[in-house]
Amino acid sequence: MPASIRRRLVLLILASIALVWTVALVSSYRHAAHELQEWEDARLVEFARFLVVLSPADLAALAKTHIDARDEFDIQHANAKDDDDSLPRDILLQVRDADGRILASSPELASLQGWQVQTPATPGLRTMTLGGKPWHTFTLHDTASGRTVRVLEPANTRSDLATGAARRISRPIAFALPVLAILVWFSIGHSLAPLKMLSNAIRTRDVSKLEPIEMGPTPAEVRPLVDAINQLLARLALSIERERAFTSDAAHELKTPLAAIKVQAQVALSAPNTASQQLAMRRVVQGVDRSAHLAEQLLLLARLDEHDKLPTAPVRLETLARNAIAAKEPAARRKDIHVALIDSEPCEVVAEPLLMGILLDNLIDNAIKYGEAGGRVEVAIRRESEAVQLTVRDNGPGVSAEDRARLTDRFFRCKDTRASGSGLGLSIVARIVEYFGAQLTFDTGIGGAGLSAEIVFPAAAVAPARVTSAAET
């Protein structure tokens, strides 16, 4: 059975009430019993004092009568049955004169073994067991008459009157508890209604509907929950909106190489000679390569977005940079661009080698693609106190400060760019940089011209320095 706040609250509240009532009951019972005892003791003392002044003849007559010490007599009384006082409780007495002779004694005393052993008794109230029964006794020594008076009363062990009082208190409680349980059950249910409303509001919600939940006035305890859910909905709506925009942009980007492939294929089909047919077919292949590259970039971005933790290891930046430069050599030669690793302090960063390779490839590729023919591209790796700084810069036409802020936006392309591209390269770089907790900034490149991309890996991502040999891998 699932945990229920309502069930738990009802149980806790009822248990607390029962506990408090029980304590109150026990305490009232004890108090009543104590009061009763005191009252009974006072009565016994009063009776003893009364015996002191009686004449020996009256005493003897009194000793032979039954003196009933019952607290209640009226059998017709509503509580009579509960009080267990239906049987008489006779007070026994014994009076001696100054010389110790018995002036009067109840005949029942003779049958109580051990009674004589107790004499001479000390004055005052005592409780003792005689003949297997508890007794309250009072001994009074009257100095004026020299009489010693002893009275005995069977102890009211069942606390008849006290039990009655306890019953009278507990009976309404016994009736009230179930009523209370029902009242508490419904009040809690009523108090929890906003939660039920909230869950209904969420349950009946359409997936495409992400506007905030409106419930009107909500209790202070539920408001934070509603607010938190609304905030989540807002974030969700934003991320879905971004996702939609990305999908639509991606579709548009994929259309361009597809259009190229289709056009070139149709040119090839209707080409008047083999040479132009061959040329068109080569361009078809180029178009396919371009769409494949775009698809790869999109997949890479999607994978980076999944936030899967990739296994990281210390990666030597210099080696990766040299590999990337070598890979871009043909493209650089076509544009007569000189790519050089101008600064390379031996340092490692904790990263994933494939992603770091893609990062360097993209940066160097961009620098060549958007750089000026006959220009320069410089790659530098520097250790700045604890951090490691990787810079790729060119002396091409550069990017306006306004556009620099948008360089990492997906599908963003500068308005006056001529080179073909999807506008995804730098957003991939930015995602990889973010992935490894590094910082990416753009500035002007070589000699204030062109563009420089600077990535700073924080100290945490920098592998502890190792003794590295001069030999290059």
Binding site: L258, A259, Q264, V267, S270, A271, A280, R283, R418
Partner: protein, 219 residues
Amino acid sequence: MRILLVEDDDLIGSGVEAGLRQAGFTVDWARDGRKAMLALETTAYALVVLDLGLPLLSGNELLKWLRDAGNDVPVLVLTAKGTVADRVDGLEAGADDYLGKPFDLTELVARSRALLRRSQGRSVEVIRYRDLVVDPAGQTVLRDDARVPLTARELAVLVQLLTHQGVPQSKSRLEESLYGWQEEIESNAIEVHVSNLRKKLGADLITTVRGIGYVMEKV
């Protein structure tokens, strides 16, 4: 007939250029908005095929400039953004037709021909003139139901004159409509083409307007 192609994508541009050439058009290819502007300022094109996503000057800006300058050359717009709103925007900015990427090259050629026809006030592709039946799309010429073999240039001169009946076409105007940017033109090329046409189709077909050029009289 000379067409200006404005497209920044190498692969699409070269494909469309080749396709339009194969269809018998003369094509100039501008890769950005500014170059297209320059070309439109200096040359009278029969048609502009315009991609909207251009560097330096966007297709829409170019279109607005073109119409503001009073140039009513037919414009066929190519774009990857194929939503209805985009199309409406493009058409309202002065485009005459719209093709979403990826498009069919044959459809592009057919729509180009349709736009050209409309701008020349024709409703059918085939042009009938006296005993001639000229089909620019099929690149065929029939004289008394017999096919007359013509070179592409000869056909182009014939079509240029036929589509401007009664309006004398200067030599330079004819050259302009026949030769693209990179093409070498012999100084007497037009005279040679006209003389060949007269030989193949009849000496009285094309009239020389002294000091101006050539004309085919209205029938």
